[in-house]
Symmetry: C2
Subunit: 198 residues, 2 copies
Amino acid sequence: MYPENFEKLIALFEKLPGVGNKTAQRYAFTLLNKEKEELADVVETIEGLQKIRRCRICGFLSDEDECIICKDEGRNRNLIMVVANPQDVTAIERTASYKGVYHVLGGLISSSKGIYPEDIRIEELLNRINDNTEEVIVALSPTMDGEMTALYLDKILKDKKVLVTRLAHGLPMGSSLDYADDLTLIKAMDNRRKIENE
Amino acid sequence: MYPENFEKLIALFEKLPGVGNKTAQRYAFTLLNKEKEELADVVETIEGLQKIRRCRICGFLSDEDECIICKDEGRNRNLIMVVANPQDVTAIERTASYKGVYHVLGGLISSSKGIYPEDIRIEELLNRINDNTEEVIVALSPTMDGEMTALYLDKILKDKKVLVTRLAHGLPMGSSLDYADDLTLIKAMDNRRKIENE
């Protein structure tokens, strides 16, 4: 019905996660109403994507060989936090309370999706760990795949004689206890701590 | 945190209607994971947008001077359906039960948004209507702005001595009567029809 190129744009938007035809049409009309200069800007930005790659060391996004975090001299390189995706790095960085470096696996081991240890950046993690490494913090989502990956990492890191820790599981701050699911409540009870006067 | 160009892409996605930062990030990562050829295709499609314009006659989208509907010889050009947006044309066309032509206003009169009759394509509508015009079907959404625009059209089309009709309001097909809002129920009762054996 629409001009061919416009239908094509709608089809492209429909490929985005969670976008149906109605939403894709709204997006396409938003682009259509943009000025020529704005469109040129959009095009330039998308073309610039080709320059973005993975950091050689940690796997985070970068437009250079090493990412902004790995290049930062003020970071403790002997403290490595293992995360699944680049988004997790930005989530932790937002808290501004972590001063180590990261290792982005680029996914999680998943039997249902057929993702095996060799498909994610585990080999690269092992190669990074040396005698100076103080601690590896496994910071994966507490989902089925996250737990499986964490267990696998735990197992293979045993030989490395490095301290391996995991993020705590429990009640999220500000949440209501009676809305917590059973598994979270069980974890919260198992991991209960003595109240200390700090 | 992310490379500059990637942050820019996220910012661009955030300008789309209803898209927050989290969703914009998901969209940006989807684009990032595309192959080089696919990205070139995306760029080409966006650049092609500049060729799309409004049909000279009805205001629908077209990549030529006249749109696919206005060019269609099989259409009854003396039957004009007035709609607010191009999306409405595709909605009606999907039913495959209308054989006239359209007039796309490009918006609705709205006192709250400060859109006046001269801001939408009403002048163009008046110029299209001639002695051969059989009927003007006002097909606007039954919202406040839609009603106001319909009333305005009704008033100025009176002088044209042309039959002006409106889409029926009532219970949507397949809906449950006890879930209908009061206004819809009142409309449905007011517009009740004798059951005919067809």
